[in-house]
Symmetry: C2
Subunit: 389 residues, 2 copies
């Protein structure tokens, strides 16, 4: 087990009707906030009205920034920073899914910084200061509600980049599973896949003696696997929605990575897909992760055996470890299909024209490599994209 | 699943040599601290010298409060409060096990309070203010290093009482598994039992649809069950010590209780034992918990079946649920015995003379009852003590 530092200070306010507690929470920090949200869905579902009422009731002044889309754009971050500066705003609220909250976080680091906020995303600058962020989550998926990360797309060149800093962990996060009842099946499935990927990016490690984090990871994976089909069958199944929502937060608050070297190759390989083709991140992951698994499983077959046996209840003879590992990969692939996700580029209608370009982009770092479970070079990434065809 | 609020802001600094980071962490909060510790063990092991060097290196001024014993006494808390007031101290460090850290927390709430700090423990006053606490844990057991609780014994009448407040969660906790190498086998086993009890107090609930918290709890239980025999065999097994240490923190930071109604009867029944007989809390729990299980299992047999199957791998026919439940209880009892813990009052040399007195004391609340899984009245508690004879 590796030495680690773990901090997850986000106050989780979980359950029915909790969005009405927003004003009360916020006013402990500020009475002048930026309220970020997406398209019209929170207005249709009535969440918007509840949020506004709660803020008004607590005498919290708000300025709105709306229209945040999936794969959130840098231009809107600039707009939010401008609004905050013009109005002396010192707290950012995100009401929505990962894109909204990631935008809120980007604005939070951008306001106190004199340069271009994109500098943080390109690694030119390290985050040393951020306004506090709070959120109401409506799409469980990215885990950003308690994570240290924010991913933004720069529409100039379609670069999708992320930052990590404990300073951008939200101070509170309101999670009401009822708000996810109206999530379409496809988005629900994409969210489930994203959560599973967050766990698996940490689970596939070469670090030995990570018994507890392995078991916690398996616990969360099994919860997501068991409950996703239930909500697809009955979108208003509160309990199943609640299990998924809470699992999504724990999947990415850092707990599942304690003591290990994490991988994150699949996420970066996927980011290039969604930056160019604008497909949902979860749908990109359901294509990339199984391909990555087939490409790397031989490197540490015992890890894939454990994954197959403990997570997927594969019960084949241990004489043939490769058969067990492959059966585990087959089961996760079938699971993704069963919840309506693409598992190949073809399924998602993506051609292979730009594979080389994507492989170039995602290896454009100091080392020109990706991943820690297996170190991947440009040609490996091309092979993985091709394996996913 | 119940609505819940969860906050666990403690920064965990985990791994080898991490005690040398103390001064650097502390100085972010204060340059004038109270340093609490127990008997001579931290001097023998060299931890004391490292702590002092680290504080000096960071120019942090310290005043010492030593001699804190297991089942920590109120009189020493008073002494600590006095020291802080006399020396304008605004940060409390505990270096040691649960008793030391619980004492540090008690001092932290006592300093800014004008009345008697015991008021908080009797429920006369609610905690509204506390000095920040940081710690170096040397005995993984109580989970106090990231919990919201503190348990103190008032030697006037041998009352052992606890408080719960998010304000007393340590701001940081330094966990170096190496510091636990010298823990005697008995204390190691007591710690393991205490952790398991923290999880089981939450696991035995009548709340349905707590799939994730169930699985997380089972994960932590299995980790403790698997690793405790390893450290008893080889006390310097770093990895096994690390698994147990991290499991002990997560067992009691609140995570395993999210969404449930918790029980806590066994802890309170045990507290009377250790207040009177001064036996280790973990050794009291290994006596009380199995007795409690035998007394209540029929109330919700499916919970005990799940416990037996998932935690203890009981593989009997599901035709006979009672047999499965009882086999689970038998296995945990055998496990406690196998790690050298008492499982009856007789094992611990405790007579039955004061059962009535203990039952009176632990039901001395507004409701005169204990527990939520099954509501226990005085006679039930007498029955459980007798079952444990």
């Amino acid at each position: 087990m590796q030495n680690f530092t773990f901090i997850s200070p986000t106050k989780i306010i979980f359950g029915k009707d909790t969005e009405s507690l927003l004003g009360n929470e916020v006013k402990q920090y500020s009475s002048n906030v930026l309220l970020c949200y997406g398209g019209g869905s929170i207005k249709k579902t009535g969440v918007y009205d509840k949020v506004i009422n709660s803020l008004k009731h607590s005498n919290v002044n708000y300025t709105e920034l709306s229209g945040i889309r999936p794969n959130p754009r840098l231009s809107l971050v600039y707009q939010g920073i401008k609004l905050c500066r013009e109005n002396n705003i010192n707290f950012i609220i995100g009401v929505g899914g990962g894109s909204v909250i990631d935008t809120a976080k980007a604005i939070a680091v951008g306001v106190p910084y004199n340069g271009d906020v994109w500098d943080f995303y390109t690694g030119k600058q390290e985050v040393t200061k951020a306004l506090p962020v709070g959120d109401i989550l409506t799409i469980p998926a990215t885990g950003t509600e308690a994570s240290n990360s924010s991913v933004i797309t720069n529409e100039q060149g379609l670069f999708k980049k992320g930052i990590n800093s404990d300073l951008i962990r939200p101070v509170f996060s309101i999670l009401n599973p009822e708000l996810t009842f109206t999530l379409p099946a496809y988005q629900t499935a994409c969210g489930a896949c994203d959560m599973m990927a967050h766990i698996m990016e940490r689970y596939f490690t070469n670090e030995p003696n990570v018994d507890l984090t392995d078991r916690l990871s398996e616990a969360a994976l099994k919860t997501i696997i068991n409950n996703t089909p239930l909500v697809l069958k009955n979108p208003k199944d509160y309990n199943a929605r609640a299990e998924i929502m809470w699992a999504g937060t724990l999947a990415h608050n850092g707990l599942m990575g304690t003591g290990r070297v994490e991988d994150w190759a699949s996420h970066k390989i996927e980011h290039e897909l969604s930056a160019i083709y604008d497909i949902a991140h979860g749908a990109g992951l359901s294509i990339i992760f199984p391909a990555w698994m087939r490409y790397v499983y031989k490197h540490n077959i015992k890890r894939f055996v454990q994954f197959a046996v403990r997570v997927w209840d594969v019960n084949l003879s241990f004489d043939n470890e490769e058969a067990i590992a492959l059966e585990g990969i087959r089961r996760i692939t079938e699971f993704f299909k069963s919840i309506g996700l693409p598992v190949t580029l073809t399924d998602a209608g993506i051609s292979q024209d730009r594979i080389e370009e994507m492989a170039d982009k995602c290896t454009a770092s100091d080392t020109n490599t990706l991943g820690n479970f297996v170190t991947l070079h440009k040609q490996d990434i091309i092979n993985i994209y091709k394996m996913a065809k």
